[in-house]
Subunit: 145 residues, 2 copies
Amino acid sequence: MDISFSVTASSESPTRTVVKARNFEMIVDEPPSLGGDDKGANPVEYVLAALAGCLNVVGNLVAKEMGIKIDSIQMDISGDLNPAKFQGKSDAERAGYKKIRVAMKVKSDAGEETLVKWKKAVEARCPVSDNIANPTPVEITLSKM
Amino acid sequence: MDISFSVTASSESPTRTVVKARNFEMIVDEPPSLGGDDKGANPVEYVLAALAGCLNVVGNLVAKEMGIKIDSIQMDISGDLNPAKFQGKSDAERAGYKKIRVAMKVKSDAGEETLVKWKKAVEARCPVSDNIANPTPVEITLSKM
């Protein structure tokens, strides 16, 4: 059976958005270099945070199934994008990240070979990496207030 | 020229991840129904927050270019996913959101027709909707601590 997730969001400035998910509030903004007031991480940093959180949850779940112990997961996650498209300067390259790199360090009793299998399963089963790596329809409907 | 974004992330529990992006800290967790301690929004809610923040930034940028005034943007964003794959119960459906729906309410002096054009440009130019709607390689490298 499907699970639904939802948020409500409200523009507080041309760059700042306050997002509510259940009992949590998230502030998304842009740094001054991108025209914002720097009151929170920016949208594409939130994408990387989502991926980190997902890899941890699924990583621990898969480890439990495989009977391996994971004491800690550390991740450095990065991506590059060309701002020309979102800034309206050029359509030559895509708007978003061209690629996302995750350097994962794992403290575990498992051997290399087991961890490679673990990683494959984690990648395949992580909802966020699925939504990033594979096409996901985004349907926007618009109405005037 | 490309811009790079990066975060560092650390597992604080099997479900909780602390993510640092520049001077910001984000806590990602799961609700008790998904095995967590509910200390923050969950990974797939972070994806929706990222999309909301991006649509606001790009929405205001495009409006400025088109010479229209936007006083407020409100969004209800939701998505459904089947947890069977990430829980290791079935591979029949994908792990992530099947579709993401954005219901956007805009307070603006612009007419309907102009706003439809505006929406099209925003969708095409938003980095986060690009990364969700279109394939983006996620490259994970693994090392032991």
